[in-house]
């Protein structure tokens, strides 16, 4: 049930902000501070989520095979690999390290 509540809230919230952008008069959201913040908020969230999903299990900090997988994804990004290759690199390396007992 909790999952459906979360899904419902996310559906409504995410659609509302999309629609707001198309309906709100340009001036309302165009203040420089609002624009700067809206560009930086995703940076903060994505950085925190990347770190948490790589280095935690539940509420414990752990370093495991996922760290190697993320390093592989980082390398693929530096080499300008396409999106799917980046994700595949992380998956394959993580699976490989686990298979080797990491």
């Amino acid at each position: 049930m909790n999952v459906w509540i979360a899904i419902g809230l996310t559906v409504v919230g995410c659609y509302a902000v999309k629609l707001a952008g198309l309906l709100v008069p340009a001036g309302a959201l165009e203040r420089p501070l609002v624009r700067r913040l809206s560009a930086l908020l995703p940076v903060a969230l994505l950085a925190a989520l990347t770190a948490q999903q790589t280095f935690s299990t539940g509420s414990a900090l752990v370093v495991d095979a996922r760290a190697a997988g993320l390093a592989a994804a980082g390398l693929a990004l530096l080499l300008r690999a396409p999106f799917l290759v980046v994700v595949a690199a992380a998956v394959v390396v993580t699976a490989g390290v686990r298979a080797l007992g990491g």
Binding site: N2, V3, I5, A6, I7, L9, T10, V11, G13, C14, V17, K18, L19, A20, G21, L22, L23, V24, A26, L29, E30, S38, A39, L40, L41, P42, V43, A44, L45, L46, A47, A48, L49, T50, A51, Q52, Q53, T54, S56, G58, S59, L61, A65, R66, L70, A73, L77, P82, F83, L84, V86, V87, A89, A90, V91, V93, T94, A95, G96, R98
Partner: protein
């Protein structure tokens, strides 16, 4: 409502090629979402509802990640919502560019995401922008939903997604979304502070809350920069 063609209007084929390229490449990554959702204990139906009705990748990954970590529905949805707020600013750009008729806007809004915005903004004229937006939106929507279903079913079929390394797909997606945003020292400072806050509070606060605290890195860094002479 046809508009007079301008001399520098792009050929339709070129616009469609660009749009299909982006739509197919990103649409296929719905597979990673389906797999991640199944690995997080989200049912196939729930994963498909998310792709059909939320349709903004980072928010979807954030939501299932937070739920998998044991977050309560409100903090999980809040993280997903904050990630979605950037779409409002895409909408502002697009409403000036596409000049959509009012009745179309509620429908078009669902397709206002990173990729459709990027393709539309890259076009030199309104007609190409509308075509690019529509083709990218349609391709991405169809493929993203199809591959979400396949990914969720596939992950259910193979059982332990961890043994296949599939739990690394989520963070890799986040990293791929984040990397192009790290252009200036401000962005890097925000990312670094968010990382420290996100990991630092993880062991001591309920699931989902640390990531919201990490979001404060954005106003904190802006405020610090603003105070510097």
């Amino acid at each position: 409502m046809r508009e007079a063609p301008t001399p520098d209007e792009r050929p339709r084929a070129a616009v469609v090629r660009d749009a299909l390229g982006v739509g197919v490449a990103v649409g296929l990554s719905g597979f990673a979402f389906g797999v991640t959702a199944a690995g997080a204990g989200i049912s196939t139906l729930q994963a498909c509802v998310l792709s059909l009705l939320v349709f903004t990748g980072a928010s979807q990954f954030a939501l299932v990640g937070a739920l998998a970590a044991g977050g309560n529905p409100f903090t999980a949805a809040a993280g997903a919502f904050f990630l979605g707020t950037r779409n409002a600013f895409y909408g502002l750009r697009l409403s000036q560019l596409l000049k959509l008729p009012r009745p179309v806007r509620p429908l078009a809004a669902h397709w206002v995401i990173d990729e459709t915005t990027a393709v539309a903004l890259a076009q030199p004229d309104r007609k190409s922008a509308r075509l690019g937006f529509t083709v990218t939106g349609l391709t991405l929507y169809v493929l993203w939903n199809l591959t979400t279903l396949l990914g969720a079913l596939g992950a259910e079929a193979i059982g332990d997604t961890r043994a296949w390394g599939l739990d690394a797909a989520g963070p890799a997606v986040f990293l791929a979304l984040l990397a192009p945003m790290l252009k200036t020292s401000t962005e890097r400072a925000v990312a670094a502070l968010a990382l420290v806050l996100g990991l630092g509070f993880l062991p001591v606060l309920p699931a989902g809350v640390p990531v919201l605290i990490a979001a404060l890195a954005a106003p904190v860094v802006l405020w610090t920069k603003g105070r510097r002479p």
